[in-house]
Symmetry: C2
Subunit: 349 residues, 2 copies
């Protein structure tokens, strides 16, 4: 592009100065400037100091765009999320960004709103941007990534996502043991009538948590009762509606283990709406440990997911991959039971 000199003047585009401008001022070639600024041993220390001084005073900023083109390294990652507004997702992003920045990478962020088309176009946009890796965090979406994964040559790490065998890198909470621990906690408190308030979208996180729940019931010789399983949609209203079905049951449960904290928040409301108290009449246990969990009344007993850590882990996994180190492809992290006030021994055993 040779440019339109007139237009440029009109628009008052302040052209940021280039390496050649610095070279001219320092009276050396642009190669020497390039080497000096990158601390190459090939350049005379005095010359380097002079060049650096000039670069600093003129507040020269090397163009990452041009460098990327020359080195075919963008030092850039792409992050696809269903929505940033989800507090779980936001904390994971926080971990991703910190780990990336620490290793000199910048991150592109894009919302998909869980719409498959938009995810496709977001990934295409990332491909054009030549991001070196993509992190996907869209618990509301599943199978549409199968084709994306097959098509793209950019490494992708899925975080708490739907999986297809082991064809992709992934970081996940280890749902079964965590779910067993939550269920065991309720059993330990003396509960026998324990419900599972799941999610209706068929994520494997839901399947696994449900599985842990059943395993622990079995281990304690408690019969599984199908009517004690209901489904929300990951939102408080969904949980509220679902828990009300449970409360109407003859011989209603004395405890409810919820798929996630959002669902549990709804459960708290629904239980109160049914004229019952938490935890005296019904105990509630959540999953995630969102910030909000400790500030509701009663404070929520829940399973903590190490959210920031999961973001960091996924980022390091992908960066190590880019450095050629092959590591574990499918990592599981442990949850942790956080005991607060929403679960206590049952009044009527």
């Amino acid at each position: 592009m040779t440019g339109h000199p007139l237009l440029v003047t009109l628009n008052e585009v302040r052209q940021s100065l280039s390496i050649k401008d610095v070279a001219r001022i320092a009276n050396v070639s642009h190669s020497t400037v390039s080497r000096a600024l990158r601390d190459s041993p090939l350049v005379n220390p005095e010359t380097a100091a002079r060049i650096k001084k000039i670069a600093l005073e003129s507040s020269y900023r090397a163009s990452a765009v041009a460098r990327s083109l020359a080195t075919s390294k963008t030092h850039t990652l792409g992050v696809v999320v269903a929505t940033v507004a989800d507090p779980f997702i936001a904390e994971v992003i926080s971990g991703i960004e910190a780990a990336a920045r620490q290793r000199g990478y910048s991150v592109f962020l894009a919302n998909s709103d869980g719409v498959a088309d938009r995810e496709t176009s977001v990934v295409e946009s990332f491909e054009e941007r030549r991001v070196e890796g993509i992190l996907v965090l869209a618990s509301r979406v599943g199978s549409s990534y199968r084709t994306l994964l097959e098509k793209t040559s950019i490494p992708i790490v899925l975080i708490n996502n739907y999986k297809f065998g082991d064809c992709a890198y992934s970081v996940d909470i280890d749902n079964v043991p965590a779910s067993r621990e939550a269920t065991r906690h309720l059993i330990g408190l003396g509960h026998r009538r324990i419900a599972y308030l799941g999610d209706r979208f068929g994520f494997n996180s839901d399947t696994e948590r449900f599985s842990g729940y059943r395993q622990e019931l079995a281990a304690a010789d408690i019969a599984f009762r199908p009517e004690f399983v209901v489904h929300g949609d990951g939102t408080p209203p969904g949980g509220e509606a679902a828990v009300q079905q449970l409360m109407q049951l003859p011989g209603r449960p004395t405890a409810v283990f919820c798929y996630d904290d959002m669902t549990a928040l709804g459960a708290l409301r629904g239980i109160r709406a049914a004229g019952l108290r938490v935890p005296e009449d019904v105990s509630v246990v959540g999953f995630d440990d969102l910030l909000i969990a400790s500030y509701v009344e009663p404070a929520l007993t829940t399973i903590r997911q190490p959210k920031e850590h999961m973001g960091t882990l996924a980022t390091e996994m992908i960066l190590n991959l880019l450095s050629g180190e092959k590591g574990e492809a499918n990592v599981k992290v442990a949850g942790e039971l956080i005991v607060r006030k929403s679960a206590c021994p049952p009044a009527v055993p």
Copy 2:
């Protein structure tokens, strides 16, 4: 960079194909491919169709990096936040990203954690990336942007941020009327002893909300009582500690207007810890309308900030600026009182 053929082979770098590869397959020059893919009228429709077909089948992705270098347009924005994990910030980001993507822009996201040094380095990194605009959303930080604003030639929009005269573009909630509305609501319920639980960091958002509070008291001929003003730190524990000072006062307030919802959450706890009920003994009003506000018990009466809208607005402001349209430089948006359950008429007037 002529490359290290051996290394390339070893690392199995899958070189994405370039416009020249497509050109060779289509048996035309790369110029024609470039024009065809950008729907230039200069190219024969049949040729264009053939080229597009080839590009599609080979899943060719034009390099945004090279295009940026050639056109000196990156179609990229940078967003600086104190932390993504803050639910307020996360929703604003959501609005930013949606508006940007809709106009073909991608966004870089960076956390500063409110550390001045990190903010400087983040902005420098954005400058190197040649972002076309920067959005700053770091309510915990103020004056360190003064120098950044003066140094950089990239347009910056501050969202709910500390301001320095009118030297920067900004989008802000219109604090004074919103705060007056909240206070008027409490007065309308019959409260006369109304406290202000502010923030201790000296943001002008706090100053303005406090000012609205005082103006409305004055308008209702209620004497201002300095002992009814305490300060938290924007976190629930901070609000909890501060509200307890208020509750110990002889002739304690019957209502508390809080700087933000996080502070209000703490206030709810602190009031209960003092053996009092919300709202029967003490009414509470917040500010922000975070998602959590409707799920605490009692659901929080608060001022809603149009968070996504503010993000969208700021983004469009900066994109219009880049298109050469000059608009309003300092925009204020209106808050909205959301009446829920945490405020009712006082028991003892």
